[in-house]
């Protein structure tokens, strides 16, 4: 799966979630999810992460954003949309090796 395709799926999920919860804000690769100018609170982030996992699962792509590993990095993969996409790309690369 290409990086573009990954980003497309992730952004679609985030947009869908925001429109359901009437959250406004620009959504692109550089949008931050937590920290300053965050889009979500903690429950929002929990839900979006699961929804992203589900969206990939429904395309028959198995990734995990809720494993212990997601917490082990120095920088959280959940900081921005881009960091989530990179985290997913790395998992898929590792699988293909």
């Amino acid at each position: 799966m290409t990086k573009e395709k990954i980003a497309e799926t992730v952004i679609a999920v985030v947009k869908d979630y925001c429109s359901n919860y009437h959250i406004s804000g620009e959504i692109n690769l550089h949008t931050t999810l937590i920290g300053e100018n965050k889009l979500f609170d903690s429950m929002g982030l929990v839900n979006v992460i699961v929804d992203i996992e589900t969206a990939f699962m429904e395309q028959d792509i198995d990734i995990s954003l809720t494993s212990e590993k997601a917490m082990s990095g120095r920088i959280s993969p959940f900081r921005s949309i881009e960091s989530i996409c990179n985290f997913i790309a790395k998992q898929l690369e590792a699988e293909n090796k």
Binding site: V46, I49, V50, T54, E58, T66, S67, E68
Partner: protein, 446 residues
């Protein structure tokens, strides 16, 4: 002969057990017990630990009493999985195993390591029969607990005799199943034993034998509603449904009351450690209950139910007594809510509580809400790891239509919003294709 065996003999021509379309009278059961007692006495030394490998059959019931007569320590093993059965035989250090081939008991001598647990030695010295039951073993290894069986049997003495027909679903190796068996035989009622536990088949037996009392788990009762069996069969003979082994979701109870308007619903309560206690439900449509048992004391400590009973276990063979206080109170792990007028309601298990970023979620509350949602046929709610809030609420849902997890989540979120606090609304939905139950119709908590 013990008072219990004598009592069985006295009931004479009354039907005791109906199994595989054959009726056995109390007199036949008494004769069977007598025959087996002689057989056991000449083949198994008294006081030995003996595994009784069988589900309910007339033979296994008779063997149970014969082993008690011979003052053996009985280990009922009803598991169909050989590995589980072997594990239990090992954990209880059974020197003999008895199974039933055709209609004949087969005795096997086991090679077991030397050494007898002090609790077993005590029973042997006092010439008392024993019973070893296992906890469901959520932590992996099942805990073997030992009862003084003579003491347990004595708690069924002088019961009022009844003219009823019971159907037994719970297995031989479960305190609830064993309690139903001993209650039935001590009150002289007729027991129907189903060949399997498929809801439609069970309902057909209720119709055929005019069963009056059905002890069952909430999950099994829900399975009857899902299959629509209550509409296919004439279940008008049913007077009472007793339920236990897991919390009953409020809304399932209401659905059941609607499907069986003339049936009285009664909650039962017990633990393998303390035995079954007599309780009364506030009403047929209420989950609130009250202990009315002179053999059981209870108190509530930090929302947890503590019990002390005359029929509690002597100890564990393979575990410490950390769930018991030094003065004999058993900490059940059940979290309860008090109504203020002496009634209590079990809302969940200590270990089942989901901690979402410090907020506590009781699975049964979420399950109850999901049961109110149109299209939801069954559900189970549990916690799963999540890197943001530590845990999150997950619901495995059996839905009436084929649906994608992402779509079902949207439906569920919309339904629950405004009814449940946000952290309680399932963050993850797993679509179940078949209702997933464990062998005992007790919900699997993951």
């Amino acid at each position: 002969m013990s008072w219990f065996s004598e009592h069985i003999a006295k009931k004479g021509e009354k039907i005791a057990v109906i199994y595989s379309d054959v009726c056995y009278t109390y007199a036949q059961l008494a004769a069977q017990i007598k025959g087996y007692t002689a057989f056991i006495k000449s083949n198994v030394p008294h006081g030995e630990v003996v595994a009784l490998i069988s589900d309910y059959t007339i033979e296994s019931i008779a063997l149970f009493f014969a082993l008690a007569e011979n003052k053996n320590i009985i280990v009922p093993v009803a598991s169909k999985m050989k590995s589980e059965a072997d594990e239990r035989i090992r954990a209880a250090n059974c020197s003999y195993s008895i199974s039933i081939a055709g209609k004949e008991p087969v005795i096997l001598k086991n090679e077991m390591p030397e050494g007898v647990h002090s609790l077993i030695r005590d029973l042997q010295h006092k010439n008392r029969s024993g019973l070893i039951l296992f906890s469901s073993g959520t932590s992996g290894v099942p805990k073997a607990m030992i009862h003084d069986l003579d003491n347990l049997l004595d708690s069924y003495k002088d019961k009022k005799q009844k003219e009823l027909v019971f159907l037994i679903l719970l297995m031989f190796d479960h305190i609830g199943g064993l309690n139903t068996l001993l209650t039935c035989l001590s009150t002289g009622v007729t027991i129907v034993i189903p060949g399997n536990r498929e809801p439609g088949y069970v309902c057909s037996l209720i119709e055929k034998y005019h069963v009056n009392v059905l002890p069952a788990s909430p999950t099994f009762l829900n399975l009857i509603l899902i299959s629509g069996s209550e509409e296919k069969y004439d279940l008008s003979s049913l007077k009472m449904i007793t339920y236990g082994t897991e919390p009953m979701p409020d809304n399932l109870l209401l659905k059941l009351k609607e499907a069986f308007p003339r049936v009285k619903f009664l909650q039962t309560f017990g633990t393998s450690e303390t035995g079954i206690s007599q309780i009364s439900s506030k009403s047929s449509s209420s989950n609130f209950m009250k202990f009315g048992d002179s053999d059981t004391e209870f108190k509530i400590v930090d929302s947890e139910l503590w019990i002390r009973s005359k029929t509690q276990i002597l100890g564990y063979l393979n575990s410490g007594m950390e769930h018991f206080t030094h003065d004999g109170w058993f900490r059940t792990g059940d979290i309860v809510e008090e109504s203020g007028d002496g009634y209590i309601k079990i809302i969940g298990r200590n270990k089942d509580i989901i901690n979402v970023g410090g907020e506590k979620v009781v699975p049964s509350e979420v399950e109850s809400m999901l049961f109110r949602m149109p299209g939801v046929k069954d559900c189970i709610v549990y916690g799963e790891f999540n890197p943001i809030t530590g845990q999150m609420v997950v619901a495995k849902v059996l839905y009436e239509e084929t649906v994608k997890a992402s779509e079902l989540k949207k439906l569920i979120t919309t339904f629950c919003t405004g009814k449940l606090e946000r952290y309680k609304i399932p963050a993850k939905i797993v679509v179940a294709t078949v209702s997933e139950f464990s062998e005992r119709f007790k919900k699997k908590r993951i």
